[in-house]
């Protein structure tokens, strides 16, 4: 294989080439092998040829409230990500480490506090 830092990406390049070739071959074969005048039965151009008919348009709006919940979730996910290595390594450093993590958690709590006061946590 090719050497160097980017060398490992060569495989990815080869894969891309293969994918492109596969695409070309598949469509080319289809073109060659398919009948010149394909049949057009009823329902062929429905969104789904089987199952339920779709309801409403594809551009339906999702309520902004879900976005806020996602955000709040993110808040704690990030907190957890940082807490793990801290618990494993930094705890040995003693009081300063606890203080620093307390400040970090405090800042995150500030966000939650703000969300609470702005009545985001209530589903209305």
């Amino acid at each position: 294989m090719v050497d160097g830092y980017l060398g490992s990406y060569a495989l990815l390049g080869v894969l891309l080439l293969v994918a492109a070739a596969f695409f070309g071959v598949a469509f080319g074969a289809n073109r060659l092998l398919s009948p010149a005048r394909p049949a057009e039965p009823a329902g062929k151009f429905e969104t789904y040829e089987c199952g339920l008919d779709p309801v409403g348009g594809g551009w339906a709006q999702v309520h902004i409230r879900y976005y806020l919940y996602a955000y709040l979730y993110l808040l704690f996910a990030v907190e957890a990500v940082f807490l793990f290595p801290w618990a494993v390594v930094y705890l040995r450093q003693g009081v300063p480490a606890v203080m620093e993590m307390a400040i970090f958690v405090g800042i995150l709590a500030l966000g939650l506090l703000y969300a609470w006061r702005k009545r985001v946590l209530v589903w209305q």
Partner: protein
């Protein structure tokens, strides 16, 4: 397993950033707990006091900083002289912009919307437009953004720089969306800014990864050392440098990464535009200078021609496009792009002189541009600000005082002697001339000439046209806008007439510590 120790923190050096960050957190608390009526005065006072405290911290630190004690937080932050100078500049410019942001005398409830999430045009929207005063979250957001900028100009490794970039960008995206009038265009601007900003951040991050691959580290000292020793894969070095530069040039609004600028400048609330035009410019060029001077000093012969080409494009595109603008805010956006070009010319001076001239330019331009936007907030009619140029015709007859002030500002932009525009352009061009970039200087002068046309056209319109039915009157500014305007204009003229003190300060400060 290697024992990891906590990094030592030099709190005196970090104080300005910590103060601003703390003040921003206090602002969040105030918004959460203070009664609705009291929020505005408390927020304004807290923000201004915080900025003053941070400035005092910068000044105190500036007296003590040496090459030895500049670097702290395990090499992540370098509070050296340029960083302190830029931080001081950011704080002062930010304070002046905050005065505009805090102005509530021009319009009931100030220039910001009360609840940005309410659908535009709905009944609730009309109710809030009529009655409710603007969101006070703008103050903590501004301070958060400024604290990010302070860290950005002091970052000594690429990852800290990236975090700081995001810290100062995200609040700006939000601020852009909060205009009280013309909310749709404001939200559109914010979304564009956010999407393109995220895109540019991705470039930066990718470049960071490549550079880590090159040097095995992300501090500028490490990168510089690897470049000097010739170890590592130079393809990674150059690809990484290119991508990191793109991320920074986006913030600096250099062509072809400038596309967001006109739309965002036009759509954002004018006080926020002034904050972006002044402070983001300072932060972006502060970061760019640090990356190029501290991190990639060894390869400047290789990046110079490319940055030079970008500078030429930026100057020409900015000035040529400014010619046909019909909206004063868009006009200033293109002028801001062209000014980014002039700043890049100074960056290419590639010496202490280049560094000091760019810092000089940033200060001079920052104050002038804030004053310009301050005037724009004043020229209004029943629908808010009247930004279309045709509405400015004959303003000299209606409001000679503000027309005069704006004329001074435009003349400064055009680089007429005795204004800061002349001294600052002279500084960057002479720095570039000293760095053997004479042809850049020629392009710069040509571009300045082209750019003088739209400025002077505005002057001609204001003074030589008859005021029409549509010419709006100028509102009487409140105390805060007056203060911002006076500070901006006085510094514009002072730096033009007596540039020596500022030149002295910038040349004192022109030395990066890796």
């Amino acid at each position: 397993m290697k024992d990891i120790s906590l990094p030592h923190l030099n709190y005196a050096a970090l104080a300005p950033m910590l103060i601003l960050f703390g003040v921003a957190c206090v602002g969040v608390l105030v918004d959460a707990f203070a009664p609705r009526k009291a929020r505005y005065p408390i927020q304004l006072v807290v923000a201004l006091v915080g900025l003053i405290a941070a400035f005092v911290a910068v000044v105190l630190r500036a007296g003590k900083v040496t090459a030895e004690n500049a670097i702290t937080a395990a090499g992540a932050v370098s509070v050296d002289k340029p960083a302190l100078f830029l931080q001081g500049t950011l704080i002062v410019l930010g304070a002046v912009a905050l005065l505009l942001i805090g102005e509530r005398a021009l319009e009931r409830g100030g220039p910001f919307v009360a609840q940005a999430a309410i659908t535009v045009g709905s009944d609730a929207d009309q109710r809030q437009a009529a009655r409710e005063s603007g969101a006070t979250e703008v103050f903590p957001l501004t301070i958060f953004s400024l604290s990010g900028m302070l860290l950005f100009v002091a970052a000594n490794d690429l990852l800290t720089m990236f975090v700081a970039l995001e810290v100062f960008s995200l609040p700006l995206y939000l601020l852009c969306a909060l205009a009280r009038r013309r909310r749709l265009i404001s939200q559109e601007a914010a979304l564009k800014y956010f999407l393109l900003g995220a895109y540019a951040s991705a470039f930066f991050l990718f470049g960071l990864a490549l550079l880590y691959g090159f040097a095995g580290g992300i501090t500028f000292a490490k990168i510089n050392e690897s470049a000097q020793n010739g170890t590592g894969n130079i393809t990674l070095l150059y690809a990484g440098l290119a991508l990191v530069s793109i991320g920074l040039l986006f913030k600096a609004a250099a062509v072809p990464f400038h596309v967001w600028t006109p739309d965002v400048y036009q759509g954002a609330p004018t006080p926020v535009t002034s904050l972006m035009a002044a402070c983001t410019k300072v932060a972006a060029f502060g970061g760019l200078l640090r990356v190029l001077y501290a991190g990639f000093d060894r390869v400047h012969w290789d990046y110079s021609p490319i940055i030079a080409a970008i500078a030429v494009l930026t100057m020409l595109v900015g000035s040529i496009l400014a010619v046909t603008q019909t909206d004063i805010k868009r006009l200033l956006a293109y002028s801001s792009i062209a000014n980014a070009g002039y700043l890049l010319v100074g960056v290419l001076g590639n010496s202490a002189l280049g560094l000091s001239s760019v810092m000089f330019y940033l200060v001079a331009y920052g104050f002038t541009v804030i004053a310009a936007f301050a005037v724009i907030t004043l020229v209004r009619d029943a629908d808010g600000e009247a930004t279309h140029l045709s509405r400015w015709a004959g303003l000299g007859r209606r409001s000679p005082f503000y027309a005069t002030v704006f004329t001074v500002i435009l003349l400064s932009f055009a680089g007429i002697p005795l204004t800061s525009g002349f001294t600052s352009k002279f500084a960057v061009f002479s720095a570039a001339g000293g760095g053997d970039q004479s042809w850049l200087v020629i392009v710069g002068v040509v571009s300045s000439m082209i750019l003088a046309f739209p400025y002077l056209r505005v002057v001609v319109m204001m003074w030589l046209s008859e005021p029409g039915e549509q010419t709006p009157s100028v509102s009487l500014p409140g105390m805060l806008t007056s203060a911002a305007l006076v500070i901006g204009v006085v510094i514009t003229i002072f730096v033009g007439v007596a540039p020596q003190p500022l030149l002295h300060l910038t040349s004192e400060a022109a030395n990066f510590i890796r």
